[in-house]
Symmetry: C2
Subunit: 321 residues, 2 copies
């Protein structure tokens, strides 16, 4: 089996928690280099800039971008122009227009671009999709609630324009929703609560509809204390599906749980599956860029009414002020 | 030559000012019916609801939607499901997701769906595109400034979520921009000024970038008094193009003006050209749904910083309060 050298750009929380272990466990990839100004991975070649990596290591054919979405575009474009295949952590960029540009470039150059949605690779998503196929959807209730102080400590970019705020986790819910539903849905209304000192929302409610009166009600909250709630409940004409723990486990009509519960979200399986998919795309030299989750987020921002919320100060950064 | 019967849904300002005269002047279409709760067009069959029209007039193969974008989707979907071809006034809907849904349905049914951008049919847009082809773009300055009290009197929907506010006219600028530029651009930053009593912005600044450092700076203002300013100036490596009066006239390096100036915007040519294009699409049984202008708007809402602006009261509605 061929092992492909891959470089990681942006060695932050998601890279250390997920990408590096997934690559180390993969038979398809080897971590050949990193780009980070604040330190790389022990024993792996680190570069201060992407330009330095591209110049020094023409032998590395694939680059995985784990840096914040606001600074993703220039690097991804440079990598594609240098003939490298690209994987993008979610969300794939700060704007839809920039990702359309990257996708067109990758297609034109015959390179692989993968816009990843790790939650689609959670253990029970495929089973949920199979259950819903052919059923009539009535109502989907999404609760996506977590404590940002626990799950995103010190991540200032999430509060800056383009960082999406509570939609950074909620886009995971939307990535599952668009994968499992047998019908398209579109945003009809939203209310977004912006802390008065932040550029992105800390909570939101989003309403969507399908072509046959299907309804989706999403409640998103970044100040939810205790155990996170990453759940969607789908009422159909033939049973109610509960997909819980971010897609890891499911049950029907309150019956026995299927799937694999986890202790830390996504650690068991999602990212290894993403890299296995990346290997398939590389072998086929094709792209996978499904922007539907990001379109729903953009629609919520466009349609959403804005409401002020109290100022938010990240405890992990409070000492800096 | 075949004349196609067309019905108009929503007999408001844009229908009376543009669609009805364009259809009357067209050799391709005949206005066969309207749907309006507040009165139709003299001598033309009027229905109170779209459902009534669809049931009573199976002989009308094409429907042109001129109603506000927030209520567009259900009707357009019903029309397509009833096997009718559909033209959508700009913006084509209140959300990107709903237009994607309509486009997929039209494709699946082999029907024509045209998401129109009337400003692309302005007299000098094609010449501007030809001028810019092969040139290196440096900077585009867009000034899109008009008095909403003059151009949108009493149009409450424009201030309601999904109505886009100042982006309702500015999407015309973006439709021209995406048509004439030889490179893609993406939104990098925006500032949106929301009147404290409105759900949509009354002014905005939007910055965009291209892959080679091309820059776009757009200044949008809905409180601009006097003559409207609908202008984009494109600085290139070989001359500066000024496209003015919403695309009607152009000049290069301050030289002589080309194109046809108008007294009332768009009245001479844009809508007749839209309907001529609709006829071509019907003959070819194809769709034309280019959502790039709307993606740029959605990106500006998603990325944009929000700033409060003074309350705005439409003088045409002030008597109602």
């Amino acid at each position: 089996m061929t092992v492909t050298d891959v470089a990681i750009v942006g060695v932050g929380k998601i890279a250390r928690d997920q990408h590096v272990p997934a690559i180390e466990a993969s038979g398809d990839f080897r971590l050949a280099a990193t780009v980070s100004r604040s330190g790389g991975v022990d024993g792996v070649d680190n570069f201060a800039t992407l330009d330095a990596l591209l110049a020094a290591r023409p032998d590395i054919p694939a680059i995985s971008f784990c840096n914040p979405p606001q600074v993703r575009y220039a690097g991804a474009r440079a990598a594609l122009e240098a003939g490298r295949h690209v994987m993008l952590e979610k969300p794939p960029g700060a704007s839809l227009s920039e990702v359309h540009d990257l996708a067109a470039l990758a297609e034109a150059r015959g390179l692989t671009l993968q816009a990843t949605w790790h939650s689609r690779h959670a253990a029970s998503v495929a089973a949920a999709k199979a259950f819903l196929a052919g059923r009539r959807i009535r109502l989907v209730r999404i609760d996506w609630k977590e404590d940002v102080r626990v799950w995103h400590p010190g991540q200032q970019w999430i509060w800056q324009a383009g960082g999406l705020g509570v939609f950074d986790p909620a886009i995971n819910a939307f990535s599952i929703l668009t994968e499992i539903l047998p019908v398209p849905v579109h945003v009809t209304a939203a209310e977004l609560r912006f802390p008065v000192n932040c550029e992105t929302p800390i909570a939101a409610e989003v309403e969507m509809a399908g072509p046959r009166g299907e309804r989706v009600l999403a409640a998103l909250d970044f100040l939810h204390e205790g155990d996170p709630m990453w759940r969607q409940v789908v009422e159909t004409d033939a049973g109610t599906l509960t997909l819980d723990q971010g897609g890891a486990i499911m049950s029907v009509d309150g019956g026995a749980q299927q799937g694999e519960a986890w202790s830390a979200p996504g650690i068991e399986g999602e990212y290894p599956s993403l890299y296995a998919r990346f290997a398939e795309l590389l072998a086929a030299r094709t792209c996978e860029v499904d922007l539907r989750p990001m379109v729903l987020v953009a629609d919520a921002f466009t349609l959403g009414r804005r409401v002020d919320a109290p100022a938010f100060v990240d405890p992990a950064l409070a000492g800096d002020r």
